[in-house]
């Protein structure tokens, strides 16, 4: 009886610590809520149902790309070609759908091709980084140029509309509920399943200590390669959302998203060194980036200061997250 009490007391004092340990994205979640409230204060319509649906519609692609990035960051790697994969998949599916006539069958075939292209890009990255053991940051920078080149080969200049059925579905409603909300639910289930697979755990243990993972008998090379493959697949999903929201092909559409995806991962509490983090955090991180951009405008920042204020705000969010995390782990 008494021993139970003694054991419970320090546990209660460490409630925050345990919460952050169990949910590393908690600081990010707090920042997200604060940002939502601030956005609502300065522009009530931005947090209305339509406003929030618009937010998700716009940033679902970045959320997916941040998830893609998370899986390689888990293992202590990085993918600087993620945005280029988005561009390549975007032009590939648009070209395929257009060539196949633009019907429902063409859309589905196009999506299938897109997943294959994403997977192939991921495997190429995996081979270069894990099998050939080149530095991830430089190797994926090189493949990003390669993938962009391929995208420009497939479609030299932006154009070619997406089949109407495709983008109307993405932007539309089913049973009066916006399609993107279904997508979010499916995504949540998918992430839950993935989090329970052996792969997620193995990626984390490789990131935590590659040597130890190798010595304990884990196939490190294969695991890192699988991480990149998964990254490619999620980048393809991100490209589907971009295509749904932009309804066209653009060989340069994803390029600038790469660093945003890395930023989202870090904002979400995942360690760039690997071995620690959550995909949920990355999803929240993507929303934080989006909401900061909107807030900077809604508070009325003069145009010449917007870039600066946005950068400072992201830095502050990063620092706040780290401070909360540190206090918790003390």
């Amino acid at each position: 009886m008494t021993t139970d009490l003694v054991a419970a007391q320090p546990a209660r004092g460490n409630a925050l610590k345990r919460a952050v340990e169990r949910f590393p994205f908690l600081p990010a979640l707090i920042i997200l809520v604060v940002l939502l409230v601030l956005n609502g204060l300065y522009q009530p319509r931005s947090v209305s149902f339509i406003g929030l649906t618009g937010l998700i519609k716009t940033y679902l692609a970045l959320m997916l790309l941040a998830i893609a990035q998370t899986y390689v960051v888990y293992a202590g790697d990085i993918d600087l070609s993620a945005g280029a994969i988005v561009s390549l998949v975007n032009v590939a599916i648009i070209t395929a759908m257009d060539a196949l006539g633009g019907g429902t069958g063409a859309v589905l075939a196009g999506l299938g091709i897109g997943l294959l292209v994403g997977l192939a890009c991921g495997i190429v990255n995996g081979i270069v980084v894990a099998t050939l053991r080149l530095q991830a940051i430089v190797a994926t920078f090189a493949t990003s140029i390669f993938f962009t080149g391929l995208a420009l080969y497939v479609m030299p200049v932006a154009g070619t509309p997406a089949p109407t059925a495709f983008w109307r579905t993405y932007g539309g409603r089913i049973l009066d509920i916006p399609f993107v909300l279904y997508a979010v639910i499916v995504l949540a289930v998918l992430l839950l399943v993935l989090a329970r697979t052996k792969l997620a755990l193995r990626l984390l243990s490789v990131g935590d200590d590659q040597q130890a993972a190798f010595q304990s008998g884990l196939p490190v090379t294969r695991i890192r390669l699988q991480g990149y493959a998964l990254c490619g697949l999620f980048a393809a999903l991100a490209a589907f959302c971009i295509t749904g929201d932009t309804a066209s092909g653009d060989p340069l559409v994803g390029g600038k998203m790469t660093l945003n995806s890395v930023a989202a991962v870090v904002l979400g509490g995942t360690a760039l060194a690997g071995g620690f983090g959550t995909v949920t955090g990355s999803v929240i991180g993507a929303l934080i980036i989006g909401l900061i951009g909107s807030l900077v405008f809604f508070v009325g920042t003069p145009s010449e200061w917007q870039n600066l204020v946005q950068g400072v705000a992201i830095l502050l969010a990063l620092m706040a997250g780290i401070l909360v995390g540190r206090r918790a782990s003390r």
Partner: protein, 341 residues
């Protein structure tokens, strides 16, 4: 009792009337710029803000709200969605992609918002383009070069970003002109991504490979760099090359008597678009509907050209301005009014 009621009614009516009048001449216009890498864009926004303020003399209050930051395509889609939330009357956008905004522009139009793209054309049928014809831009430079070289010689071209729509149009424009001059041989083309340093490097390589070239087609943003290489190689008086509209280049051009000609893509395009937008918001109709261009939604503005004949005038306009300031031109309110019924 009756009297008070009548008086109250009168007051309400008067209030309603003033409210209506105020609403009719109060416009909120959102400006979106998705890239802040050059002073040209800053000048573009400043000129648009000044143009909005100028409407005050006409009794029209134009409030501009600006979103200008380095964003990816989703980030700029968010700009548009933010403007919709803000309830603006019109959006003027310098778009990061020609095709990516179709769905969100449709959404803006549904919300009753006028959308005008400037500087780069957009494919959306729900938007209008007010700016220069990038194809004519490319053609004008080539026309000048062909004339300067008397229709014969070896030339090289330094292009911007491969796959960027403005670049592709400009290249198509000069190729069309060069096709009419078979004695001008385009010996090589390279991309220097609208970057001065890359333009300089590219020109250096080209001069080393083709020491006997007579002309260079280079777009603004890289031309000053290319010219630096030409001058370093001591070939200033042997080569004719297109130039820039920035004050520092125009000064150099004047001082060293360069054999140059510059097509003007004026930063005033956004101000021109704003003046057109206000007139449209007032319910006026264009004399000629905007149906030009590949997307059939464009209204092309005149493209000024600077060469030795009017260099002094251009220099005069830029006198006292900082070096990064660009030669500009815009549709004044009166110019714009002349385009409407």
């Amino acid at each position: 009792m009756k009297k008070t009621f009548a008086r109250a009614l009168g007051a309400v009516a008067a209030l309603a009337l003033t409210a209506f009048a105020a609403q009719a001449e109060d416009y909120k216009i959102g400006l979106s710029n998705g890239w802040v890498g050059s002073e040209w864009r800053t000048q573009m926004i400043e000129e648009a803000q000044a143009a909005a303020a100028a409407w005050k003399d006409k009794g029209v209050n134009v409030e501009v709200v600006v979103q200008s930051a380095n964003v990816d395509v989703p980030g700029q889609i968010a700009h548009v969605r933010n403007f919709i939330s803000e309830g603006v009357d019109a959006i003027i956008i310098n778009p990061n992609s020609p095709t990516a905004f179709d769905p969100v522009f449709a959404q803006a139009k549904e919300a009753g918002i006028l959308v005008i793209a400037t500087d780069a054309e957009v494919s959306s049928p729900d938007a209008l383009y007010v700016g220069i014809d990038q194809k004519a831009y490319g053609a004008a430079g080539a026309e000048w070069l062909a004339k300067t070289l008397d229709g014969k010689g070896n030339i090289v071209a330094i292009n911007g970003v491969a796959g960027h729509p403005a670049n592709e149009l400009r290249v198509a424009g000069y190729k069309e002109v060069l096709a009419k001059h078979p004695d001008i041989k385009l010996v090589n083309e390279v991309n220097a991504n609208w970057d001065q340093a890359q333009g300089q490097q590219a020109m250096q390589n080209l001069l080393a490979t083709y020491p006997d070239i007579n002309g260079v087609l280079v777009q603004d943003g890289m031309a000053a760099g290319a010219w630096k290489s030409i001058m370093d190689a001591g070939k200033t008086d042997q080569i004719a090359a297109t130039g820039e509209i920035r004050k520092d280049f125009i000064d150099l051009w004047t001082k060293d008597k360069l054999n140059s000609g510059a097509t003007v893509n004026p930063p005033g395009v956004m101000a021109s678009a704003l003046n057109v937008a206000v007139l449209m918001l007032q319910g006026k109709e264009l004399k000629e509907p905007a149906t030009a261009g590949q997307y059939e939604n464009a209204m092309y503005l005149d493209i000024p050209f600077i060469d030795s004949s009017n260099l002094a005038e251009a220099a005069k306009q830029l006198e006292g301005k900082p070096g990064y300031y660009s030669y500009t031109d815009q549709l004044s309110i009166a110019d714009a009014e002349a385009l409407f019924k």
